[in-house]
Symmetry: C2
Subunit: 197 residues, 2 copies
């Protein structure tokens, strides 16, 4: 699941550098254990992996009180990765966790970019609904009846998501939220993360 990766990178970015426990508690604040099903162990693993991949830098901090801590910061490559992951999560259907994570990190994109990708999602959902409708007229007959009826539930969820995505797209074009290219965002604010290490 790359939702963990996205959330961890995103939180470190938003906090402008953080150590494991900070990420963990921030995610707890956001109730992410529920919708993203993230457990402590995965967070520390994701941080180390991301550091090994060059998306984060590690700074050992002497334990002036308490045990040693490691401070992580997002690299330029890491920021690009976050943006790419958010785009991917918005586009890709059938992965609710990744969608939730992407929404959480939506302000990493510029307004136009976000709208474009949400609209792509809308288009995909519409295509899937058409496809499903066709399939239900001519179902495979070697599949049990109740398995075919599941399709109703999927279609319902697809319609719900469609409505919601359309509303979100509309709200964005009306100027809701502070996006990456708006004044006051992480991008226009003085940003310590521009530094390379």
């Amino acid at each position: 699941m790359s939702a963990t990766k996205l959330l961890v990178l995103g939180i470190v970015h938003l906090s402008g550098g953080a150590h494991g426990y900070q990420v963990r508690s921030e995610l707890q604040n956001w109730r992410a254990e529920i919708w993203a099903k993230i457990k402590p162990g995965s967070i520390y693993h994701a941080l180390k992996k991301a550091a090994a991949d060059g998306l984060l830098t590690e700074h050992a901090e002497p334990g002036n009180s308490g045990p040693e801590r490691v401070l992580y910061r997002v690299t330029a490559q890491g920021r690009d990765e976050i943006v790419e992951l958010v785009r991917d999560g918005l586009r890709r259907t059938h992965d609710p966790t990744m969608l939730d994570a992407s929404i959480a990190m939506l302000p990493m994109l510029t307004r136009a970019d976000a709208i474009a990708h949400i609209n792509e999602r809308v288009a995909r959902l519409e295509a899937e609904l058409v496809h499903q409708a066709k399939w239900r007229e001519h179902p495979d007959r070697d599949i049990p009846e109740h398995v075919r009826d599941q399709a109703e539930l999927w279609a319902g969820h697809a319609r719900t998501e469609l409505e919601w995505a359309k509303r979100l797209s509309k709200r964005l074009s009306e100027g809701a939220y502070t996006m990456a290219d708006d004044p006051g965002s992480w991008r226009t604010a003085p940003d310590p993360l521009q530094m390379r290490f």
Copy 2:
């Protein structure tokens, strides 16, 4: 994810004994790679694990053509486990994959049992909707605006699922599907799986 476990056990049960590849192709027929995200490797692992846990028995078959195959059969304990997993999946919210798998294996339950557990789901979903509505009136203010707006999507999904679960419950009480206590089900049919090994 115990959805894999449930599907694998369920398919072996429905086929009255099967080897890995049969399970794999049957799941492909049901398009389970899409909604349950099952990959070949996991299937073989799940089979071995279940056998080690006493839910399946293994019968080595000499490769009379092609490589060696292992035939699996569900034990009495395995059947109980399937029933328990289906009940669990129906009850538990926030786990769509497990719900899908449970629906696929719904006829493992008696009609009354299935209805009872689906009704429990309905009650839980209603409680969650009430809880969410309250939370949206008094949101935590340290959470970004767009994260709070995600709740709309969750609520939408919950409502969709609620409607669907109610319909399913109704259909079941009207006699839809062949359940475990109906004539023609795996339970009333002569069943080779009753044998112990």
